[in-house]
């Protein structure tokens, strides 16, 4: 694993590059929209990486948490007149609560069984949102929500017609989320996650509470993912359960694989690379998923630790090659 200083530098470098992208693409709404989606998926994938890659919890509920957050924010702002800027935090809080509820039974489980429980949440969510319960709480049932208020901040209303302000709003949110994740990794939480991942029994003997830390990681990643879902809802302005299709799930997995599982900030790099490749392959039509799948297989074989793993190798290689004392 890279040292914390190098992770921080890499993160700073990534965000410095991303910050100037509107200078080149600001005039093209379509590309700005893709960049905004990259920022959203970078946070969601980073949260997934934190829980799966660092904490070693095979949670497959990340898309579900994202959808819960998006619907919560949209419903809270529409039903109770709460401004979207606050509604997204309420959505994050509610999703964290759901995350804890999902996390509790998972604490008694290991590996694939956690994956099953969390994926069950994903599977259950669609019929709940479409059915009577969903309609009663205002999900719009099978129609979805087709009119969601845009984000307003200090009297300024963000609209998709001018994506640059929206880009920087999402940029700030993504930077804040990545800093939180970085701080967690650097703190004793991060050490505890790694200890629990390597050997839960040994870590417990050292006084690391698996219960406490696993629940905390569920709460934190659910909060950030749910909040990002809220931002997504107010950005796109409409929601449907089609987000629970296999496409997004697979995209996020590919992001993790390309970035490197447990290789923060790999998920951020992975998000930008995956979305860019996906869009570049669009002209291939039905051959896009085949090509994308083949690329992923090749990447997994060539770069099992993702892009960040490659950087690690390059850095360690250059360090070995450099003369002593340098």
């Amino acid at each position: 694993m890279m040292d914390h200083k190098r992770i921080t530098m890499m993160l700073a470098g990534i965000w410095a590059i991303v910050a100037v992208l509107p200078l080149f693409f600001g005039g093209t709404d379509f590309i700005m929209h893709i960049l905004i989606m990259c920022l959203i998926w970078s946070v969601v994938a980073s949260c997934w990486d934190l829980i799966m890659g660092f904490a070693g919890i095979f949670s497959f509920g990340q898309v579900a948490f994202f959808v819960i957050g998006s619907y919560t924010s949209a419903i809270v702002s529409a039903r109770f007149g709460i401004p979207p800027v606050f509604a997204v935090f309420i959505a994050g809080g509610f999703t964290a609560l759901v995350g804890i509820l999902v996390g509790l039974p998972c604490l008694k489980l290991k590996g694939a069984y956690i994956a099953l429980v969390t994926f069950a949440v994903h599977m259950i969510l669609e019929p709940v949102l479409k059915g009577d319960i969903g309609q009663a709480i205002g999900t719009g049932g099978t129609r979805g929500l087709l009119s969601i208020d845009p984000m307003t901040l200090f009297g300024y209303t963000f609209t998709t017609a001018s994506p640059i302000p929206y880009f920087y709003l999402f940029f700030l949110v993504a930077v804040a989320c990545s800093v939180i994740i970085l701080l967690v990794i650097r703190s004793h939480w991060g050490t505890a996650f790694l200890a629990l991942k390597d050997s839960q029994e040994f870590a417990t003997c050292l006084g690391v509470s698996a219960f406490k830390y696993k629940l905390m990681v569920f709460a934190l990643t659910s909060f950030l993912t749910g909040m990002m879902g809220g931002f997504y809802a107010h950005y796109v302005g409409m929601l449907s359960t089609r987000m629970l299709g296999i496409d997004l799930f697979v995209t996020l997995m590919v992001i993790l694989v390309i970035g490197g599982v447990g290789k923060f900030p790999g998920a951020i790099i992975g998000a930008f690379i995956t979305i860019a490749i996906n869009e570049l392959l669009s002209p291939l039509g039905p051959y896009r998923p085949i090509t994308m799948g083949a690329l992923v297989v090749i990447l997994v074989l060539v770069l099992p630790d993702g892009i960040v793993g490659l950087f690690e190798k390059l850095f360690s290689g250059s360090r070995r090659l450099s003369p002593k004392g340098h």
């Binding site: 929209h33 049932g141 979805g144 087709l146 302005g237 409409m238 929601l239 496409d247 039509g285 039905p286």
Partner: protein, 407 residues
């Protein structure tokens, strides 16, 4: 390493630059359809009609002397951001002069493409899409629906079920629909109609796509012995498995598949095994015999190009392109989007079967020269037996009592 990197960069650049290099004096036409994922088959149906129309126009010298160039966009599973991305790409980035879709987002598309001015044709068949349109008619005046809503299509299905020359053994119905917007819209409308007519809806089930094991539901159905079973899941696998499991011990029930009959695989996979099934297609070209000589010529041409009879949506999408092209010719400038939209809305379009007229909601309502066609599978092919509204038998084609019904 450097060599490999430069090859990858060249490949990527060629993918990006290819559309720009082809951009000579052409009129760009956006085609957002599902090219991957579970809706690929319906996307393909629409594409066949759109491609045929574009090729015809180009073969005749283009539109206003300029060839049409389709620009495709894969809508995948219609996630909200994907629908929006399609609009931003086609209208914002490529700046197409019209957009021809099929299933396009059931309301999400109205919002996404309504931000722009290029005329947009969809086949949502959804009341939700109409409701969004009515929120701001001026803003969404470029939106045109090629088919009537699910509510009206379900009403038409009911009308024909009641008009069949067949005496039902009882007044019990079973409704099974997909748990999506289309399925619920159709299911609820049918249920209301059955009840108003004094029928008992003994079972109304919503099932997710991917349901292939029908044992528990069929056990209940065999206990109920309904006179009508209506299944509304627009996916071949589900309706084929339902039929085959039903046929292991069939009840004396008319099997009505509504719009679920139209995925081409249903008839192609089952052939004569599917004989007896009923279904409907809105804004349809009745087959195997078209209503007018012009329509018959179109039907023959379609079959010669694609090797099979048209599926649902092919003719509707074809007609959308032709309606737009006729409006552009009348206005004289494809860039005058508002004028083109106004022309379509006020003048309509004369197609192979007669006039296409959009109503004040910009919906191509069923009826007149373009009614809903109701089919029965006979000898392994879809045969139009009724049109509606008004409900009347189609030519000399007749309903046949399905072979599993013991009278």
């Amino acid at each position: 390493m450097k060599q490999r990197l430069s090859i990858i960069l060249m490949l990527m650049l060629s993918l990006v630059a290819a559309p720009a290099l082809m951009a000579a004096e052409t009129i760009k036409v956006g085609v957002p359809l599902a090219m991957t994922g579970p809706y690929t088959d319906t996307g393909d149906n629409y594409w066949k009609g759109i491609k045929m129309a574009i090729d015809e126009i180009n073969d005749a010298g283009g539109l206003l002397g300029k060839p049409l160039e389709p620009v495709r966009f894969d809508t995948q599973e219609f996630a909200p951001e994907r629908v929006m991305q399609g609009a931003d790409y086609l209208c914002g980035q490529i700046k197409v002069d019209s957009v021809h879709a099929g299933w396009a987002g059931w309301g999400q598309d109205v919002r996404a493409y309504g931000k722009y001015t290029a005329p947009f044709f969809a086949d949502d068949g959804s009341q939700a899409a109409v409701d969004v349109f009515n929120e701001d008619r001026e803003q969404y005046k470029n939106i045109f629906q090629l088919t009537d809503t699910g509510i009206n299509q379900a009403q038409s299905m009911f009308n024909v079920l009641m008009a069949l020359p067949y005496e039902y053994p009882n007044n019990k119905a079973v409704i099974i629909t997909a748990d999506d917007a289309w399925g619920t819209e159709v299911g609820e409308t049918l249920k209301k109609n059955f009840k108003e007519k004094g029928w008992e809806v003994a079972m109304h089930e919503l099932v997710p796509y991917g349901t292939n094991q029908w044992g528990p539901l069929l056990t209940q159905i065999r206990r109920i012995k309904p006179a009508i079973i209506h299944v509304e899941i627009v996916s071949a696998q589900e309706v084929i498995t339902f039929f085959r499991q039903f046929m292991q011990r069939p009840t004396n029930s008319i099997l009505s598949y509504g719009y679920s009959l139209v995925p081409r695989e249903v008839v192609e996979t089952m052939g004569t095994e599917a004989d007896g099934l009923l279904g409907e297609v809105p804004t349809a070209m009745p087959t195997p015999e078209a209503p007018t000589p012009e329509a018959q010529a179109w039907l023959d041409k379609f079959e010669s190009i694609w090797g099979h009879l048209p599926q649902a949506g092919s003719w509707a999408a074809y007609s959308g392109v032709k309606a737009w092209a006729a409006a552009v010719e009348a206005v004289g400038d494809e860039k005058k989007h508002d004028a083109v939209s106004d022309h379509i809305a006020t003048h309509g379009y004369k197609g192979e079967t007669g006039w296409w007229k959009w109503d004040e909601d910009h919906v191509m309502r069923a009826g007149g020269d373009v009614p809903i066609a109701h089919f029965q599978v006979q000898n392994g092919e879809m045969v139009a037996i009724f049109t509606d509204p008004p409900t009347r038998p189609y030519k000399n084609y007749q309903f046949q009592v399905p072979r599993w019904i013991k009278q």
